[in-house]
């Protein structure tokens, strides 16, 4: 009996110490990690999408909502007006989640461009979504009032050869971003007007 209690006790104490110190570490390192991801993964992608914008897209971030529902929105200034907003989104790819940035042109009501940030797709097939800019370029100019789909599903996007699941995931993520955009549009317009002044 005594041995039993000792086993339970030792394991419990070890787990508590381990869990406690790890959550402390995570809490302290999270901001630095996010900064790194921002700088090395999202930053270049945002810059790529918002080419030619006259502001600094990576540094100018709007935060909408509060607490858990808070979302970050990047925006690009063209011809003196903040015209393009960039939303973050996620789709279910073949190998795991695909992180996607979706840029929406507010005046034209159309996609300004998309860019994959993080993914675990197969190299040469699904990874083309990130590595082949020509494929991503298909999304540019598509109206946001119509659902984005691959040609096989009746849409206008031709899927990557051998990677239909990835292509669908990117379309889904785009649609999700557009839906979020429509939801937060009033708030967004208000905030961006503040920026324009």
């Amino acid at each position: 009996m005594g041995e039993m209690i000792k086993m339970v006790l030792v394991l419990t104490v070890l787990s508590i110490i381990s869990g406690g110190s790890l959550s402390y570490l995570e809490k302290n390192l999270k901001p630095i990690q996010e900064k790194q991801i921002m700088q090395l993964v999202k930053g270049p992608a945002v810059r790529q999408i918002l080419q030619g914008a006259s502001n600094k897209p990576v540094d100018d971030v709007l935060t909408l909502g509060e607490g858990k529902n808070a979302s970050k929105v990047f925006y690009g200034v063209y011809e003196g007006k903040p015209k393009v907003v960039v939303m973050e989104s996620e789709g279910k790819g073949y190998g795991g989640p695909i992180g996607l940035l979706v840029a929406i042109d507010m005046e034209k009501q159309a996609l300004h461009g998309i860019g994959v940030t993080t993914h675990t797709e197969t190299g040469g097939l699904g990874a083309e979504a990130k590595d082949n800019p020509e494929w991503a370029a298909q999304f540019t100019g598509k109206s946001i009032n119509k659902k984005i789909q691959v040609t096989g599903d009746g849409g206008e996007i031709s899927a990557i050869g051998g990677a239909t699941i990835t292509s669908r995931a990117v379309c889904d993520a785009t649609n999700k971003a557009v839906a979020t955009y429509q939801e937060i549009k009033p708030q967004l317009t208000e905030k961006l007007q503040g920026v324009a002044k």
């Binding site: 041995e3 000792k6 086993m7 030792v10 394991l11 070890l14 787990s15 381990s18 110190s21 790890l22 570490l25 995570e26 390192l29 630095i32 990690q33 790194q36 991801i37 090395l40």
Partner: protein, 209 residues
């Protein structure tokens, strides 16, 4: 005390050097040694985990009940592995991206668990530190040597800190020998087996005593 601290330390560097003499922990050895930088990063991460887990296991060796010792070792090792992963993610993100899944896999690296079970649980703290450092550095050197051979033949370069985070020394033999054609087989998975096999063979030509 039969063996001195120096002996415990140096055995890991040659006599019991993990991948070649003990032939343990081959998964990261084969997986990440495509560039010297990856090999070194992986080696140092493992050394840190090995050292810390050896210290803790040795300190707690009288407290841990023998029936649940493996579970206790795993908790200790896993904690340090997550520490390494989080720190690397925060301060060496490019390295974290290339090493990827191999960092969490240190938890089940048989060298780490093997030293905890075979050495640290039976010896004092000072000896365990010497053992952990020796084995860890031996592991790091082996990874660095293996990845140096693979990278120089396979890509014609030696990258120490070539990631975007650190602009560092990169040796490129293509500058010296313009006719050099990289033998890409060596940086692919089968090349790892061939290269490791040849190095094992050469190590065994030299007697261990």
């Amino acid at each position: 005390m039969a063996k001195s601290i120096v002996q415990e330390f140096t055995k890991g560097l040659w006599k019991e050097v993990p991948p070649f003499r003990l032939v343990l922990g081959l998964c990261p050895v084969l997986g990440v040694t495509t560039s010297v930088q990856n090999g070194l990063g992986m080696g140092l991460a493992t050394t840190f985990v090995l050292l810390c887990s050896n210290i803790l296991v040795s300190t707690l060796r009288k407290v841990i009940p023998s029936k649940v010792r493996i579970a206790c070792y795993i908790i200790i090792i896993a904690t340090f592995v997550i520490v390494v992963e989080q720190v690397m993610k925060a301060f060496a993100f490019p390295l974290y991206q290339t090493l990827g899944v191999f960092i969490p896999l240190i938890v089940v690296n048989c060298i780490v668990l093997g030293r905890a079970e075979a050495f640290a649980s039976k010896n004092g703290i000072i000896l365990s530190i010497a053992d952990g450092l020796g084995i860890g550095l031996g592991f790091t050197c082996s990874l660095a040597a293996l990845s140096a051979v693979r990278e120089i033949i396979g890509k014609g370069t030696i990258t120490i800190w070539g990631a975007p985070l650190f602009e560092g020394p990169i040796v490129n033999i293509a500058h010296t020998f313009p006719d050099f054609v990289p033998f890409e087989f060596m940086v692919q998975a089968p090349g790892a087996f061939v290269c490791l096999g040849l190095m094992l063979c050469m190590m065994n030509l030299v007697p261990s005593k």
